[in-house]
């Protein structure tokens, strides 16, 4: 017994084995922690969705008004299999995504260009500053009605609404980012012989991108909102129209099902933007990047 204990304990004191033990313990702690988090998350889902299902099945919640999870799942299933009341599900997703994406791209580009221009040129900022503040204070969702009247029920009115929603967030971040560029970088570039345009291209833009990229997360959220609301106000196709139709026919499950689809789209977009962020800002030290949430 004692000899066993001795021979057993002897190799453990060797540093390499000791390291391995410490590393294994560390890895195990990490895995356990992650398991615990996932378990808790699963529990939250079960409680919320299970509770909802239970309350709806026992008629404590009226399933025609509140829907119920199993109904949502079967509605999604029929949509995927048979298509929706206004056309195939894929078409609706595609229409909404198109509106959101075009608007997002145009709005972001405009926001960056205007933000950097006003940030760089004092005169422009002084002239346009008050106008932009006034426009920003308008609840822009209302403009959706105007755009539907002006541009009809098709793609254009939604894209323009999305552009208007996306623009301001990106604009203000680009403007602020341009203003906050370290003066030393500007002076250094000027001394090294950079023209105004080269300073904008090589110093201002990369520096401001930290701010701009941060606004893209919020901006894409706004893009989806803009597309959906635009379809609410007047459209023939799209997820917003699908929700409106479901609401009109007291189909609570349909509303929830459309929301599940939107959540998936938003998650995928968020993931893509985070990838883009990593790519654009890889020059920054790792600890300055936000933790994943």
């Amino acid at each position: 017994m004692t000899t066993d204990a001795l021979t057993d304990s002897a190799p453990v004191t060797r540093p390499t084995d000791d390291d391995a033990v410490v590393r294994r313990a560390y890895r195990w702690r990490k895995i356990r922690r992650r398991l615990l988090v996932h378990l808790a998350q699963a529990l939250v889902l079960v409680v919320v969705i299970g509770g909802w299902q239970l309350l709806a099945s026992t008629k404590h919640l009226d399933p025609t008004l509140f829907g119920k999870p199993s109904g949502v799942v079967s509605r999604l299933h029929t949509w995927i299999r048979d298509g929706t009341s206004i056309g195939s599900l894929g078409d609706q997703v595609k229409v909404t995504l198109e509106e959101a994406l075009y608007g997002f791209l145009i709005g972001t580009a405009l926001g960056i260009v205007c933000g950097v221009a006003l940030g760089r040129v004092r005169f422009l900022a002084d002239v346009f500053g008050p106008f932009i503040k006034v426009l920003n204070s308008i609840p822009r969702i209302v403009l959706g009605s105007v755009f539907v009247l002006m541009f009809g029920l098709g793609l254009e009115s939604k894209v323009i609404l999305v552009v208007v929603l996306v623009f301001f967030g990106v604009f203000f971040n680009a403007f602020q980012g341009t203003r906050e560029v370290d003066r030393n970088f500007l002076a250094n570039a000027a001394i090294l012989g950079a023209s105004k345009w080269q300073i904008t291209r090589h110093v201002v833009l990369p520096s401001a991108f930290t701010w701009i990229v941060a606004s893209l997360h919020v901006a894409f959220g706004f893009a989806l909102i803009g597309a959906i609301v635009g379809e609410f106000i007047g459209a023939q196709q799209g997820l917003g129209q699908l929700i409106k139709y479901a609401q009109g026919t007291f189909d609570a499950n349909g509303v929830w099902a459309a929301m599940v689809i939107m959540a998936l789209v938003a998650l995928i977009a968020e993931w893509l933007i985070t990838r883009l962020e990593r790519r654009l800002l890889r020059w920054r030290p790792a600890q300055l990047n936000h933790p994943d949430l």
Partner: protein
């Protein structure tokens, strides 16, 4: 090379408008000459307008009155023959080491193949071969200063302006960098204005040391030629008997200005 001094400041004054609308005179009746290939160190208490003087020579700012001349020509805007090393890191954190060094040639539309070869040469001279693709945040403070040196020197400046470039470094790294600076300066011999608050560094590096008065309305108090032989070893020259004499002389001139500057920043303690 022309017969004119490389840099001449003729009776310049510089005032700023303060945020409250008042005027702050940073420099008054300052005259200073730096010959071709001369290494001039400027020392003075904090806030005496040393950095302002550099921005005037670089063309980043203009004097309120008086003239700034480079090679006898009045300065209008930022000159092509000038390099500037800043106190804080001013290399671009979003560019790799090699792209930072190439920034000058790129901005100046130089042929890039030649520039690339030059950049590798300068990186080798500052001891950063193998670090071409790193980003600045992956380098130590001393290495970032080396990148800044290479970035400045690749443009083969005739004039090198340095604003306390090594003040953020630890003492040992600083001595090493000073030595390397002297070696690199010897290669191309630009005229240098090296601003510092460290008298020892100033004497060890320079051909002449200019002492400035305390601000506001600072000007040149005295100029001391430094006749220590070159090449110098920065870490060891301070033990030289002549170095000590020079230090004592210049410190004599500098001390009252340092006291005056201190009295301005801490009047209460002074009264107590």
């Amino acid at each position: 090379m022309s017969n004119h001094p490389a840099i001449e400041l003729r009776d310049i004054s510089k005032s700023f408008t303060t945020p409250r609308g008042g005027r702050y005179q940073a420099l008054r009746n300052l005259s200073l000459t730096v010959d071709q290939g001369e290494f001039c160190a400027v020392v003075g208490p904090t806030g005496c307008g040393k950095s302002t003087t550099l921005t005037l020579v670089s063309g980043l700012e203009r004097p309120t009155t008086g003239g700034v001349f480079i090679d006898g020509q009045p300065v209008r805007g930022i000159g092509r023959d000038i390099a500037f090393m800043f106190q804080t890191d001013a290399i671009f954190p979003w560019k790799t080491v090699i792209d930072n060094v190439l920034a000058g040639p790129k901005f100046r539309h130089a042929p890039m193949a030649q520039a690339r070869a030059d950049a590798h040469g300068w990186l080798q001279r500052v001891g950063l071969t193998g670090f071409e693709d790193r980003y600045p945040h992956q380098l130590s403070g001393g290495m970032r200063k080396r990148v800044a040196l290479a970035q400045s020197l690749i443009n083969s400046p005739r004039i090198l302006l340095m604003d306390e470039p090594f003040s953020a470094l630890d003492v040992q790294t600083r001595a090493i960098m000073s030595n390397e600076l002297l070696g690199l300066w010897d290669l191309t011999k630009p005229a240098v204005i090296f601003v510092t608050h460290d008298l020892e560094e100033a004497i060890a590096l320079a051909d002449k040391v200019v002492v400035m008065t305390a601000g506001p309305a600072a000007t040149v108090k005295a100029t001391f030629p430094i006749d220590l032989p070159r090449p110098r070893v920065v870490q060891e020259i301070r033990f030289d008997a002549h170095f000590v004499d020079l230090y004592r002389n210049i410190w004599e001139a500098l001390r009252s200005e340092v006291d005056a500057a201190y009295a301005q920043t801490a009047p209460k303690q002074e009264a107590a």
